[in-house]
Structure formats: C-alpha cells, structure tokens
C-alpha cells in the first residue's frame, strides 16, 4: 500500500497532508471551544475521517461543486474554504463565511464551489444532483460531489439520485462516508446489506475503499472524477472510516450508556488516517519529517489566527436578522 502513494507527485502528497492536518487542528480547537462553552450551537466533528474529504477534493477545482453534511467542516476546508471565516461562522460572528446566519451545519462558500453543509441528513444528495445537471448543461467538464454518511444512505433520495444520474449520465460522484454509526446506532442495526452495492441495479459503477487511506481515496476519486468529466456518468464510492470523537460534541451530557466499546475506538485510533499517512511519508522519505513539522507549525499558526479572527469579529447586527430572504422584492410592497 505504501508504494501506492509513490505514484503521486511529492507536492500533492504534502498538500494532502497539509489539508488533513488543517482539518484536524481546526476541529481540535473547536472541541476545546465547545467544552469551554464558547460555541452557541452543536458541532459534529470529522476527526478520523479527514482522508476522505481531502483525497476527493484534491481532484476538484473551485469551479467543481460539492455538497456536504452536518459533519461538514472537513469538506469545507478540503475544498479550499477559508479557515478563519469558518471559525468565525461557528462562533456566530459577523465575519463568518455565512455572516453568522448558518453556523456549523451550514458552512458554505459558493465562490469555492462549496454548496454547503446540510442539516438534513441526505439533503445534499439532491442538491449535488442538481449541480451535476447544471455542470452537464454548461458542458465545461465540471463535476459535482455529494458527501454523505452511511446513515444518509438509507434515505430513499440516494436511490432516486442513482437512477436519475445514471439515466442522464450526470457528472455526479456520490461519496458515502461509512463511519460505522448513524448517530448512536451501529450501521448494521439500521443498514441492511452493502451500501456500495446499492449502485449496481442502476448500472452505476461503485467501489468500496479504505477511507482512512488518503491515497486509496485519491485513486478511487481520480477514477470517478475522470469518468464524470469525460461524460461517462456517475459513480459511487463507499469509504470505510470511523469517527473517533462523539456524534455531536456534547453527547456525553445526554448519552448515559455507551453505544460503543473503548477498545473499538482505540483500534480505530491506531488506524488514524493522518498518523498512517505521515508514517508512510516518512518511510518513503525519512528526510520529509522536517517538512511535515514545518507544515504542522504553519497550521498551528493558521488555527491561532482563525481563532483571533473569529474572536475579533463583532456579533452580527440584530437588525439584519430579517435580511436577504429574497434577492428581490417588488418595490413598495411588503413581503
């Protein structure tokens, strides 16, 4: 497996390391902030799943589209969203990427092709299908990626999307992040059979991969994105992974009985996608350690700056709360 990485340019590998680490450190900060009571709303962290967002988004430009989930910080950052403005958003500040109107579950930046996190499980799938339709109509090789969880895979809209995307050969990549849980329900208790296989009856190519291996993700996404850009239609990628933190940060306050064993969590921590990747990079090139350390420091600075930016940002104007529901309202008429 280690060799698999070696096909990729060194710069690309380092960039993936950088992105994964950025997501990780940003979210560790959010975890601390949440514990300190600094965050107004709930946050669902992506810790342990970073390889998926990063391995996929590596193939995308700002002009490609992604839709995301309630666990959306990783996708936002992997797709090039601004860390400081994300932090300010989650803090509920005026300089947040959505002006404090959206919060954690709605971080979005259309200028980067980020249609946004989504508080509705499965909600992003239809939006991505629509963006794929738009991309096909534009005919300029853009693609749309829908990230969604194993729990979301049980929403019928997934099958509806598989059907339409297959019929119309839409440039859509469906990326299922199977982290073993749908909230507090282990996947097997709520999901029958195989998620990846659900693509088969629709004639959509699918693959099941190790989602904690960023190179494996890169490769699967590479194939799917190429297919999509070439007009050959949709694909489904099921990436197996694990969230090593809670479903939602404050779950300890209401989950009184454990829904998973500590040993299981530990076993997955040992397969941490960033540690594994760093190890592999060092094995391939011992001298790279310095570079990784430099990146780590760089990221620490970014996170610190993001916190400062967010803290310095004012609260939104209360008077603006009613604003921008509509792009245009007829003159002289009250909505």
């Amino acid at each position: 497996m280690a060799a698999a990485g070696s096909n990729l340019p060194r710069e690309e590998l380092l960039e993936m390391y950088r992105r994964m680490m950025l997501i990780r450190r940003m979210e560790e900060q959010l975890a601390r902030d949440c514990a300190a009571g600094k965050l107004p709303g709930p946050v669902h962290l992506y810790v342990g799943e970073e390889a998926i967002a990063v391995g996929v988004c590596q193939h995308l430009s700002d002009r490609d589209w992604i839709t995301s989930t309630h666990r959306g910080h990783g996708h936002f950052l992997a797709k090039g969203g601004d860390p400081a403005r994300m932090m300010a958003e989650i803090y509920g500040r005026a300089d947040g990427i959505c002006g404090g109107f959206g919060g954690s579950m709605h971080v979005a930046d259309f200028s980067k092709g980020i249609i946004g996190a989504n508080g509705i499980v499965g909600g992003g799938i239809a939006l991505a299908t629509g963006a794929a339709l738009a991309s096909q109509l534009d005919g300029d090789g853009r693609v749309a990626v829908a990230f969604f969880g194993d729990g979301a895979a049980n929403q019928g809209v997934l099958m509806e999307a598989l059907n339409v995307a297959s019929l119309w050969k839409l440039p859509l990549i469906l990326v299922c992040e199977n982290n073993g849980f749908s909230e507090f329900s282990p996947t097997a208790t709520v999901t029958s059979g195989s998620i990846a296989e659900r693509a088969r009856p629709f004639g959509v190519p699918f693959v099941e991969i190790d989602g904690n291996d960023v190179v494996a993700v890169w490769q699967a996404a590479n194939a799917a994105v190429r297919r999509a850009r070439d007009g050959q239609g949709p694909s489904l990628i099921e990436a197996r992974t694990y969230r090593t933190r809670g479903h939602v940060e404050y779950e300890v306050t209401f989950i009184t009985e454990p829904y998973r064993g500590e040993a299981e969590v530990e076993a997955w921590r040992a397969r941490d996608p960033i540690d594994r990747f760093a190890r592999r990079l060092r094995e391939g090139e011992p001298g790279i350690a310095d570079e990784l350390a430099r990146i780590d420091r760089e990221i620490e600075a970014i996170v610190l700056e993001a916190v400062h930016f967010a803290e310095a940002s004012p609260e939104p104007e209360p008077a603006s709360a009613r604003g921008h529901m509509f792009a245009a309202v007829a003159r002289g008429v009250e909505p």
Partner: protein, 327 residues
C-alpha cells in the same frame, strides 16, 4: 387581445421565456407529454437537454432544482399536483426556502415551481389540496396565484425572471375558462394586487381561482345596487397589503375568499393584517369564505359543499353588510 385558456397562456409564457433566455432548464414528470398542456411543445422546441422528463421522485427533483439554480441555471420544476409537493417537501421547505438565507445571501435561487393546486374536479383528497398557506408560511418561497389567463401569462413570466424560488399555482387543470390575453409582450411584476371591480360598499378579496366566483357574486349583487370592490392580490408572497388596506379604508368592510382550509389560511392571515392595520376603519367583522378543515371529497355534491362558491360568498357579503353593533 385573443381569447385563451389559462393553460395556453402559461404555455406561451414558458415558450417565450425559454426562447428569450437559453439558461432556462425545465424538468418534471411527463413534461414532454404534458398532462395539463402547459409544457406542450417545449421538448420539441428546446430539445431533451433543456426539457427533461424525470422519473417519479419528487424528493429528488425539488432539491435538484435548488442545486441547479445554485449552480447558475434558471430552473422551472414541474411538481404536477399540489399534493405531490408534500412528497417533495424537503427540497422546498428545508432547501429552497432556506439556502440563500443560511448562507447570508451568497446566492440567488431562480426557481419556478409549477403545480396545479385546489379542487373542483372530483380528483379527491390526494389531488385537490390548496397548498398555498403551507408554502406561504415557509417564508422563503414566493407564491403566485393567477386569477385569469392574462394574469397567468404575465405573472409566470415574472416568476421565471425572478431571482428567488417562486411557486406558481394554477387551478385550471387542463384548461380553465378562456379570457382575453394581450398579444404583445408583457410582464406583471410580483407583488401588485389588482382591483378587478370597483365598489364602495365592501371589499371582497379573492385569491387565485376564487376571483371568478367573487366577480360573479359582485355582479349579482350589483343588480340590487350593492357595490362590491373585488381585489385580487395575484401574489400571496409578496403581498400587496397596501392595496388591500386602501380598499378596506374606503369600504370599511372586508370579506376574504380563499380556497384553503380555514385554519391558518391566507384568508385568516389577511383578516389578521387588516384588523391590525385598519381597525379604525372597520365597521363590521371580517368574514372568511374558505374550505372547512377537512379533506376535499370525491363526489361532486360533497365537493361543492366544501368549496367556496357564489352562494357562500354572497351570504358572507350580505351578512357583513347587514351586521350591526350589538347584534
């Protein structure tokens, strides 16, 4: 001017707008065959890229409209019957109505959803709901309800050109009664009520399909010298409240006719707005002529019993005119 049915007027509006703007895409179930006739000929004219038959999957298509609009296209999404909007409600209520606001106005969502709404054709409970109160309560959806073929054309053009999600609700099924439609190009901006008939005795606000029976009632009463002013809001969101208030301040009496179930109807909302803003002007209670809080039944005799018609409108108008303090 030419006489046309509402459905033809809509068909012309769709054709002209798609002709005008190559970035309009239209999709829905059987839009090629066109069950109602509103999308007839579009597939032939604009081809299978811009006019697409979808499978039956309302949950997907309502959300696809949002994604395609966010990604820069102008979308017309046909939901067929109002009741099927419930099936695709997530895309409407959780996505279309919210995405712009949640993202601090980063995007425009130029979407026109089309649906037939309301009863009167023995299509029974699952094909006859008047869904405009539900849509209006969502806050992020404009709601257009034409009362005539001419309005249908001008308002549909405005809806399509609008940069926000608009629900265009037509009651006409496969045709509707014919009316005069201007031959030249025109657009009727959203949010402007029309006074369909002037009168000084009572303001009768009638929404969408209720405009016709309201006008008939006004005609009947005119024979007795009762002058009813009929106001047609044309769009429920945005609402031209000033026009309604102006009329009520003159007539001092209001009856609202709305083909919605009474509870939380637009009729109720208009009554609430008027009693708040024009209390001083009112000299009688505001009456609503609506559908009782039940489903729309199948048998014609039952359906007639629940839908507002000339009889019930007339009764409400007379009761309002005859009302005296302390009675």
């Amino acid at each position: 001017m030419s006489r046309k049915r509402m459905i033809q007027a809509m068909n012309e509006a769709l054709l002209e707008e798609m002709e005008r703007d190559p970035r309009i895409v239209l999709f829905g179930e059987d839009v090629k065959a066109s069950l109602f006739g509103d999308t007839k000929g579009l597939w032939k004219r604009f081809g299978p890229d811009r006019v697409r038959d979808t499978p039956i999957c309302e949950a997907l298509i309502s959300g696809m409209a949002v994604g395609a609009a966010a990604a820069g296209w102008r979308v017309v999404c046909h939901m067929m019957f109002g009741n099927f909007v419930y099936t695709g409600m997530d895309g409407i209520a959780n996505q279309a109505a919210k995405l712009r606001y949640m993202t601090n106005g980063q995007i425009k969502l130029p979407i026109t959803y089309l649906a037939v709404s309301g009863g009167g054709r023995s299509a029974a409970a699952q094909h006859s709901d008047a869904i405009h109160p539900v849509l209006a309560n969502l806050g992020g959806i404009k709601v257009v309800m034409p009362g005539s073929p001419a309005d249908a054309k001008g308002l549909l053009k405005a809806a399509i050109r609008d940069d926000d999600p608009v629900f265009f609700l037509q009651a006409a099924g496969r045709g509707g009664e014919p009316g005069e439609v201007p031959d030249e190009e025109y657009v009727i901006p959203l949010g402007h009520a029309a006074v369909r008939r002037s009168g000084r005795d009572l303001t009768l606000v009638a929404i969408g399909p209720m405009v016709r029976p309201a006008l008939k009632t006004a005609e009947v009463l005119a024979c007795e010298g009762i002058e009813v002013e009929v106001v047609d809001p044309r769009t429920v969101v945005p609402l031209d409240l000033e026009a309604i208030l102006a009329s009520v301040r003159r007539t001092r009496r209001l009856v609202v006719v709305d083909e919605a179930r009474d509870t939380c109807s637009v009729a109720s909302h208009l009554a609430a707005l008027v009693v708040e803003r024009a209390f001083d002007a009112l000299v009688a209670p505001i009456r609503r002529v609506t559908v009782p809080d039940c489903c729309i039944p199948y048998a014609p005799v039952l359906e007639r019993a629940v839908l507002p018609g000339v009889d019930r409108i007339e009764e409400a108008v007379r009761a309002t005119l005859g009302w005296r303090r302390g009675t």
